[in-house]
Every structure is written in C-alpha cells, then in structure tokens.
C-alpha cells in the first residue's frame, strides 16, 4: 500500500513537473510578478514609508533678515529638496513638471501682513500637499515667533508611539506572500486538468481495474500538489530574501517569529489543494475547470488584498476581503513579517483556512465522479 502510494505520488509529480506550461504557471509567473510588481510598487512605498523629499522651488522677494532666514531654513530642511528656480512664471514652472510646489516669500513677510504663498500643482497627491503645507507652516512659525526648533518644542507635547511599518507592508512584504498565495491557488488548474484528462483518456478508470483503493488514489492526487504548493512558497521566499534584495532598496524582513511560516504554509497549502480538488470535482470539462479556477483565483486575489494591499483598500472592499481565503492567508503571513504577532494572533487565520479546506474537500467528496 505504501509502495502504491509512493508510485502514485511519483507519477503525478513527474507528469506535473515535466509540463512546461505548468512550471511557467506555478513557478515562473509568481517570480515574475514578485520581481516586476515589487519594483513598480517601490516608488509608491518610498513616498509612504520613507517620506520622499519634498521637491520645491523657493522664490524670495524680500531682502529682510527673517525672509532670508526662512529661505535658509526651507533649503536646509532634511525633508526638502530645493530646486533652482527657472526663469519662468509660477504656472509655467508647475506646468513643465519641474516641481509640484513653488514657495514665494513676499516682500513685507516679516511684518506679518504678507503671508508666504504656496503654489501647488493642481494634480498633486493630497497627502504630499498636506505634508508640504505642514512643514512650511512650521518653518514660518519658527521664523516669525523666533523659535529655534519647533519640532523639539512639539516633542514635549506630542510623542509618536506607532511602531514602524506595522500597517503598510514594504513592497516585498506585500508581493512575496501575495503572489506565492496567488500562485498556490493556481494549482487548481493543473490539478483539475490532470484529473479530468485522466478521466477522459481512461487512465483513471484503468487504475480501478487494479487492487488499489479509492482512498489511495485520492491521496495520490492530493499529496503531490500539496508538496508542490509548499515548494512554491519556499521558492518565492528564497527569491524574496536572496534575489530581490539586489534590485530593491527595502530588503525582505522575515519578522520576529519566522518559524510561524511553517504552520501558516501548511494551512495555506491545505486550503489551496482543497480548492483545487473541489474545482477538479465540479468541473465537467478541462476548459470549464481551468476557466473556473483562473477566474476564481483572480477574484479572490482582487478581494483578498493580493493585487492592492489590504491596508489601502476602500472601507467597503476591506470588509468584503474576509470572503476571500487569500485575505486570511495573506494576513497570516503579514502577521509574521510585519506585525510580529504571537502565534495566538495568527491561529484564528489558520482556523479559517482549515475550515475553508475542509469545506472544499467535503464538496469535492460529494461531487466527485471517478468514472
């Protein structure tokens, strides 16, 4: 019996791993997605996480001491990158895209009657606009009220306690688990196609003419794909940790409890294999099964915070995300990589994934027609 199971697993693994399309779908596609989308997201993340420098042009129309001091403070601020002012009208400077902000210190600024003027490019990001206004306001207050360092004064009033990067993952923290999960759910395509192909060409029926139990044949179908799922995650992790660091500024951080990846990956692989078995059982043709699998996986990814980080989804989609098993899988990994959650924090997500797997296997068991 063990020998038969071993051969069933070996046969399935050989067939799957020899198929170039399957290799591309299960291994190359997620690696490519991780590579390109991490790079694409890096620019956005740089803004959000490290605070890209505010690029602006300063136009000082006053020769007063305070105006010069404000100009100096603006240009010296570490959050600001002051650009040389082109010999152009403000509107033209903004229209040319050289900067998104022109700061004009008018004549008579020191009297308090002529405020500093901020010319924003109309399509500027709202968060960037608020940050720039807040910074220029602080510097103007320092100059006008003769405060040397307003931020030091404010630290007595406001203390920031937020732990860094606990809500928004870095590009790699987002993409590595996200596209590993995405690809793991795509296992349903080769699994269902393989099952239906065996039904159509009679090899499955032929197996039943040997003294092999249905349970063994079932295990012989499930175990190989479960193993492949785990291999997929390991490969994505290796790409994230060892390869992507050469292409991206934020290295992949595994968190404080990386061992938790083991139970999480086992639970995710159970959910993805269960989903694949269910698709194989309900699909009537190979075309129907592959379409159903692909469409379901993409929809689960859209809702589950795979395509766009859950943290930045609108409120309605954030609530809808709970219907996607990919959401629970991704959040479980983010608990490890991002939030340093204890196992008790990860466990509820594992329970949801396990329930999803059990439901899928149950439906498959009820619907499957071996012959």
């Amino acid at each position: 019996m063990t020998g038969q199971l071993k051969e069933l697993i070996r046969k399935e693994m050989l067939i799957v791993l020899r198929d170039r399309q399957t290799i591309m779908l299960l291994f190359l596609m997620p690696v490519a997605l991780i590579f390109f989308l991490s790079l694409a997201m890096e620019g956005v993340w740089t803004d959000k996480l490290t605070g890209r420098k505010i690029q602006l042009v300063v136009k000082n129309e006053s020769a007063s001491f305070k105006a010069k001091l404000l100009e100096q403070k603006i240009k010296a601020d570490p959050a600001i990158q002051a650009l040389d002012r082109p010999d152009q009208d403000n509107d033209l400077i903004l229209a040319d895209g050289k900067t998104q902000l022109v700061v004009t210190i008018p004549e008579g600024f020191e009297t308090g009657n002529h405020p500093v003027e901020l010319y924003f490019e109309p399509a500027i990001d709202a968060g960037y606009k608020i940050a720039a206004r807040s910074l220029i306001t602080s510097l103007a207050v320092e100059v006008v009220m003769d405060i040397d360092n307003l931020e030091a004064v404010m630290q007595a009033l406001i203390v920031e306690k937020t732990k860094p990067n606990r809500e928004l993952p870095t590009p790699l923290q987002q993409t590595v688990p996200a596209y590993a999960i995405f690809a793991m759910f795509f296992i349903s395509i080769p699994l269902s196609i393989g099952f239906l192909k065996e039904k159509n060409d009679g090899t499955l029926q032929r197996l039943f003419t040997y003294p092999v139990s249905t349970h063994l044949i079932t295990l012989g179908k499930i175990i190989p794909y479960y193993i492949i799922n785990i291999l997929q995650f390991i490969l994505m992790l290796l790409v994230g940790v060892f390869i992507m660091q050469h292409f991206i500024s934020h290295a992949f951080y595994l968190g404080e409890h990386p061992w938790q990846m083991i139970p999480v990956t086992l639970a995710v692989a159970a959910a993805t294999t269960g989903f694949g078995v269910m698709i194989a059982a309900v699909g009537r043709t190979q075309e129907q099964a592959s379409t159903l699998a692909a469409v379901s996986a993409v929809l689960m990814a859209v809702f589950g915070g795979i395509m766009v980080p859950h943290a930045v989804l609108p409120a309605v989609l954030k609530k809808a995300a709970v219907i996607s098993p990919m959401y629970w899988a991704h959040q479980a990994y983010l608990d490890i990589f991002l939030r340093a959650a204890p196992f008790s924090g990860v466990a509820p997500k594992l329970i949801v994934l396990t329930i999803f797997a059990v439901i899928c296997f149950y439906i498959a068991g009820r619907r499957v027609k071996w012959i």
Binding site: G3, Q4, K6, E7, R10, K11, L14, I15, R18, D19, N200, D201, G202, T203, Q205, R206, L207, F208, T209, Y210, P211, V212, I371
Partner: protein, 239 residues
Amino acid sequence: MNALDISAVTYSYGNKAANALNNFSMSVAPGSMHALVGPNGAGKSTLMRVITGQFRSYAGRVTIYGRTMPDRDTLLSIGYAPQPISVYTGLTAMENLLFFGAMAGMPKTRAASRAQEVLEQTGLADHARQLVSTYSGGMQRRLNLAVALLHSPLLLLLDEPTVGIDPQSRYHIYETLTALNAAGMTVLLSTHIMEEAQRLCRAVTLADKGTVIYDGPMSEIDNLERFFLEKTGRGLRDD
C-alpha cells in the same frame, strides 16, 4: 471451470431509461480466444467495465476462474486494455509499466524484468525511455496492450485493441495475441472488425442493445459480417 462466467447481468446508467446490459449471459472457456461483437450501443464496453470491477451496482453474477466479482485479489487475474489508449503520455513507456506494475503489487525488480519482456513482445523495447507523447498511435496502442500483459494475467480483456492504427501495428498485435493464446492465455476480444474476430477467435458472442443474440463456436458461422448484419439489421446505429 470457465475462465469467465457472466450470468444474467443487468446494468443501467442512471440517466438512461434502457438498460445498457439486459440479462446478459456468456461464458469464456479457459485457454480460448473469444470474440465479443456488436454494433455501437451493444454494451460491449459496459460489459468490460462490469467484468473489471469499474461498475459494481449491477444485478447478476460475474465469476472469473470461479471467483465472484468484484473481488480485489481476482482483479490480478485480469489484464485489461481499454478502448481509449489509457497510458500516461507524460511518462516514458518504462515509467508507465513500472507504475502499473506497482499498482498490481509487483515487486520493483519483477516489474522491471517483466516490463522489458512485454516491451519486447510488443516491439517497443527500443523506445522504452521515450515519452509516450512522442509515440505514434500504433505504438501507444501497443503500449496499451503491454500494460495489460505486464502482471501476467490469466484472462486478457481487450476492448477494440486495433482501432485507429496502421496495418503494421495491427498485424503485430494479432501476432502477439496469437502467441499469447497459444501459450495458454485466455483472451476476450471486443471488436468491430469482423475479419479480425473470425480469423483469431474460436468462439463468438454477438450482442445487440445489451442482450446476447448469439453465443457459440465461430466454426458454425460462414461469414461473420453477413451473419452480424442478418442478426442486427442494416439500419444505422448513431445513438
């Protein structure tokens, strides 16, 4: 004791009103080569699947060398080559044979030596390490037969073993079957090809619409095709 006894077997596919097999009875003597002939819808493939234990919810009785089916151990007395070429095209011929050998519970070394023998028997020894997806139709059909022979069954069930292949492969299969039968293997051959059945088999069962309409020695039939048309009619059977 007959190699195969089928007694009053009735089987119905759940979604169809008529029975696929209706009170079907026939016997195959040990050491014989027996033809099972009938038009489309006669129930030949259904009968094969009943004998091999794929369909179990039937009425009646099937015995193989005196043992009532379905029975796990008795399955090993049967070698079955289904009508569709039921081998894994993503594996080599040798890998297919070793896999099915394991399914038959054969030790690895025994399966390997038998695999070599059946590959030689079916003219595939030179292509043993080639992926089956690169095989021609005739080669795949011969591998389909090789798999059925691997575990040295007493009773060989062949469902249209020569359909869709070139004359050379067909001739090779005929030669192989004749040699196996001469060596004592019992063969039940389901076929559409009358000339094939008449040339190879000593007994014939003619079936139509799930029932037996003739069961007897081939020697009593002068021209099987004419006999077949007389018994089953000349109307088309497209359903």
